[in-house]
Structures are given as C-alpha cells and as structure tokens.
C-alpha cells in the first residue's frame, strides 16, 4: 500500500519539499499564470464580483418589489439602531464559542489518538477514513438524524425513562439550543480533527521519547511538546469551525425549531421578504466581524507554515 507508506514518509520528510526551489523566471511565471487563470476567473466571477455587488447593494434603497440603486446609509443605521442585532450577534457568538470549545477538545484528543496511539499506518488510514466518511454525506440528513434521538418520545428519553433516571421525558433535548449545539458538533468536529491531525503527524516522535527519558509525565509531554507544535493545526481548525458556525442558518433553524436565531438566519428571512439591501448590509457587517475573528486567530498563531506548499 504505497499511499500508506507515503503518508508515513511525509511526517519524516521536510514539509513542502521540492516545490519552492525552482528559480523564478519570466517564462515560468507566464506558464504559472496561464495555469491558474481558469480557476481565478471562475472565483472572480462567482465570488469576487458577487461580494462587491453585496457591498454595493448594502448602500441601495429598496421598495416593496425591487432594489433601487442609490447611496444611502439607512440600511446600516437601521442595523445599528435595532436591538435585535445585538441579540442575534450574542446568540451567534455564543454558539460559536461553545462549539469551538467542544470541537477543540474532541478534535485534539481524536487527532492525538490517531497519531500517537495507533501504531500501524494501515489502521491510522482506516480510522481516519471512518471519521471522514460522514463528512462526505448530506449535512441535512445528518442533522435530521438527531430528531428520532432527541425528541420527546425519542430514543434518549426512552432510555432515560426505561432506566429510571428520570420519570418525565426531558423537554429541552430537541428544538432547543442544546440540539443546535449537538448538531454543530456532529457536523463540524471533522474540520478540527483534520488540520490538527496534519500538524501532529509532522511532530518528530523522538521528541516525545526524549521527554519521556528526561522524566516528563505523559501529560507534561503533551502540554509542552504536542500542544505547541500542533498550534497551527488548532488555529486552522478553529478558523473553519468559527466561520462555519457564524455563517450557518440551516442548522439553527431546524434544530431550534425556529426558537433560536442567528445573524445569518435573520438575514435569510430578510432575503425571503425580498429586502435585499438590509440583508446585504447585515452580510457586510458579519463579514467584517468574522474577518476580525479570523485575523485575531492568525495574530495569535502563524498558520502560514501549515498552508505552505
């Protein structure tokens, strides 16, 4: 199984070897641009341009049926005046923080188990795939699969009542913030596992042996060697999880049964009511806040070596 051996080699080999040592020359530069142009064009047309349009529309006026080109600040003024805004951001940030903490603890321990406890590469790949496969199936289906579990007459309540732990079914399980967080953790933990796994796989195992020989406890070795050396993976995973939770509207709508809201789910309501300019303004503010959060993470941890090619 060559791919497995390659994976094993990778941890030993210098990361990103080979690629960068080619001298820059004009012909090569032109060839590179030629190669990346199709991708850049698609992203510019369907991502760059639309984002500029959102920015422009956030200053537009609107009436009941259409958007009216203008340059007004009303959409932003309304956004900052509304009390709902703060409540929505509090709710979104609360979800993001809780889910970040839970996925971090889960992701770190799972990656640690896969990298340092699983001995053969074959098992490592098999268990890694076991974690990855659900990610390649439908998010919505994975989300609704919690309904028979958490419902009033669901499996969890049946088990609790059957074993006599409670005599009334727990009401808070489904269609609540609890259900929203369970679904987020279920959907997004993988985004934490993969980057942390990648950075841990590069840690030279002899460092841990040295720590062990020098008398460090297992816990201390993790805290002082593994944790600092997987920082860039943790940062990358955190960026994924935070942006996914902050940008979500589908999970919060379904799993809270409409009782909780997030910034983006409120935005989705505005879009449904054809109020595009306020929705655009809300998106712009959200992008600024998420960018600040990402910048904060990047300031703490330099992830460039994780992304280095």
């Amino acid at each position: 199984m060559a791919i497995l051996d390659q994976t094993a080699d990778e941890s030993a080999a210098t990361p990103g070897a080979g690629a960068e040592h080619i001298a820059v020359d004009a012909g090569g530069e032109r060839a590179s641009w030629f190669q990346i142009t199709p991708l850049v064009v698609v992203l510019a047309l369907f991502f760059g341009l639309p984002m500029l349009v959102v920015l422009a529309v956030s200053f537009f006026d609107f009436d009941r049926t259409d958007i009216v080109p203008a340059f007004i600040l009303d959409n932003y003024v309304d956004l900052f005046r509304s009390e709902v805004t703060l409540r929505l951001y509090t709710s979104s940030i609360k979800f993001a923080l809780i889910v970040w903490l839970v996925t971090l603890v889960l992701g770190f321990n799972i990656a640690y188990f896969l990298v340092f406890h699983v001995r053969t590469v074959l098992w490592q790949i098999a268990l890694f795939l076991l974690c990855t496969v659900p990610f390649l199936t439908s998010n919505i289906i994975r989300m609704i699969s919690w309904i028979p579990f958490l419902g009033r007459n669901g499996i969890f309540n049946q088990a609790l009542m059957g074993s006599g732990v409670v005599d009334q079914p727990l009401e808070f399980l489904l269609f609540s913030d609890f259900a929203v967080i369970v679904a987020y953790v279920h959907l997004f933990t993988l985004f934490m596992v993969v980057p942390i796994f990648n950075s841990m796989a590069r840690i030279d195992k002899s460092l841990l042996e040295a720590a062990h020989d020098a008398g460090a406890s297992r816990f201390r070795a993790v805290a002082e060697i593994v944790l600092p050396l997987s920082k860039s993976g943790i940062a990358l995973g955190s960026i994924f999880v935070v942006t996914l939770v902050m940008g979500d509207s589908f999970v919060v709508r379904t799993m809270s049964g409409g009782q909780s809201a997030s910034v983006v789910s409120a935005l989705q309501n505005e879009v449904a009511a054809l109020q595009y300019p306020p929705a655009a303004a809300s998106a712009v503010i959200m992008v600024i806040i998420v960018t600040l959060m990402v910048a904060g993470i990047l300031r703490l941890v330099d992830v460039r070596k994780e992304l280095a090619r």
Partner: protein, 279 residues
C-alpha cells in the same frame, strides 16, 4: 514512544474507548434513521417499529406531496458530475501552476481561501444579486453551478497541494533528462502519478456539490436540487418518508465514496506489484 516494545499504556485504552464513543456519536443517529426508514405504514417518526416495510420508499415516488424527488435527484446528480469535472480540471491545472513561485500567487491563493470560508449564504446572495442586476435569470446549471464551484474549487486546490507536497519531482526531472517533451512528461509521468489524488479531488467535487445547500439555496432558480428539496421536506413532511430519502441519498454518497476508494486502492496495489517498491 509509547511503549513501542510491547504492552499498551492504560491511556491507549482510555483513548480507544473515547474514539469508539466518538464514532458511535458520528454514525449512531444515521444508522437509526436508516432503520426507521423501513418503518411500517402505520409507524411514526421514532421507535418502536410498527412492522417492517418499504412503504416510505414507495411514498417517495408515488406521493406527490413529498415533492419532486425524482427531478431534483436528476438535477443534483447532473450538477455534481459537472462540478466534479470542472473542479478536477481547474484545480489540478492550477495546483501545478502554484508549484512555481510567481507574482500574484499569494493573491490567487488568498482569493481561494476567502472563497472557502465565506459563509455560503452570502456567496449565494451575491450571485443572486449579480444575476438580478445583470438581468439574467438564475438556474441550477448556471448560477447554481458557479456558486458550488466557489466551494469545490478551493477544496480541490487544497487537496492537490497536499498531494503535490509529497510528490517527488525527481521523476519529472528524470523524464526531462531522458528527452521527454513537457507534454509527454505531463501525460506519461506527472498525471499518472497524481491519479489517486485526482480521484480524491473528483470525489470531493462530487459529494460537496451533491450535498451543498447554503450556496445553492438562493442561486438554484425555480427548480430545486435534492438537498433543497429535502430541506423543504423537513418542514412539510412529518413521516418516515423523510428518513427514506435520507437513506437513499446516503446510499448514493456511499457508492461514490466506495468507487473512489476502491479505485485508489487498486491503482496503489498495481504500482506496488509492478515495481516492488512504493512510488
């Protein structure tokens, strides 16, 4: 380090148990809805099973009130195939271009990363507004496909970076030294060696598109894709038919994943056998 010379430390068993619980957490609920999709005709959304039947699968086709399952399924498959093909071609070619340092490479790279982490609904909103301002109608195969590419292309690019990171360039150099033209080198050395990674990119392109919802919601036009149809069903359908469509769509995903993994394994095995050495 951890007792390589024999017995496992106790922490191994603690971690193994923890990992097993996590896997149960990942798969348990999914398994439950597959079981419940075989619920008898009088059964409800949760246990107990009132008999075993294919009633709810039949309902997907025969009952019009559950929505346009067949049509949306066809659209989703078509979209996923298109997204996979475009993603493979563009991201493989671009990743090869990124192997050189060149002016503007950082810009192109960060454009892709920004596109990846931007909340999907915002991208969809932007595309919908752009099409509206240009006076174009949105359709799943135009704006919908474009919206999904803003998600599948950066993913494909990152996977190709990982694949190329462990690609040994001396094989390419050897090809050049032996007199291969750059086209021959690409076709007969580079691409065959990268094939398992390319299959991986195709797998991600397909499944990410097939399950996408946030970017597609505002850009699919009047005809729904399958995830959008299922999303609509979550509020209107309160029968195990919802689980039946979940089981069907997951089976499709599993088939695609299985085909991709098996073909990668076959390619790797052939290589190991051919040379006796892993490449």
């Amino acid at each position: 380090m951890l007792a390589a010379e024999g017995g496992r430390p106790w922490t191994f068993y603690a971690f193994a148990a923890f990992f097993a619980l996590f896997v149960l957490f990942l798969y348990g609920p999914m398994m439950v809805i597959y079981i419940l999709s075989f619920q008898g005709p009088s059964g409800g959304m949760t246990f107990p099973l009132n008999g075993v039947s294919l009633h709810w699968f039949d309902a997907l086709i025969s009952q019009t009130r559950v929505g346009d399952i067949a049509g949306s399924f066809q659209r989703s498959i078509g979209l996923a195939v298109a997204a996979a093909i475009v993603t493979v071609v563009l991201s493989v070619v671009a990743a090869l271009g990124f192997r050189r340092r060149f002016r503007g490479s950082a810009f192109a790279f960060y454009l892709a990363i920004a596109s990846l982490i931007m909340p999907g609904l915002f991208v969809g909103l932007g595309i919908a507004l752009t099409f509206r301002l240009l006076g174009l109608g949105t359709d799943w195969y135009t704006s919908g496909l474009g919206a999904q590419l803003t998600w599948t292309l950066p993913f494909g690019l990152l996977i190709m970076f990982a694949v190329l990171g462990r690609f040994n360039r001396s094989y390419e150099e050897a090809a050049t030294d032996l007199g291969a033209t750059s086209w021959q080198r690409l076709r007969e050395v580079t691409l065959p060696m990268l094939l398992p990674g390319i299959i991986g990119v195709a797998l991600f392109g397909f499944t990410l598109s097939y399950d996408e919802i946030a970017r597609t919601a505002l850009t699919a036009g009047s005809a729904n894709t399958l995830p959008l149809e299922i999303w609509a069903m979550t509020t209107t359908v309160t029968s195990p038919a919802l689980y039946a469509i979940g089981a069907v769509t997951t089976v499709v995903s599993f088939i695609v994943i299985g085909v991709a993994l098996i073909s990668i394994a076959v390619i790797q095995r052939r290589r190991t056998r051919g040379t006796g050495e892993p490449i």
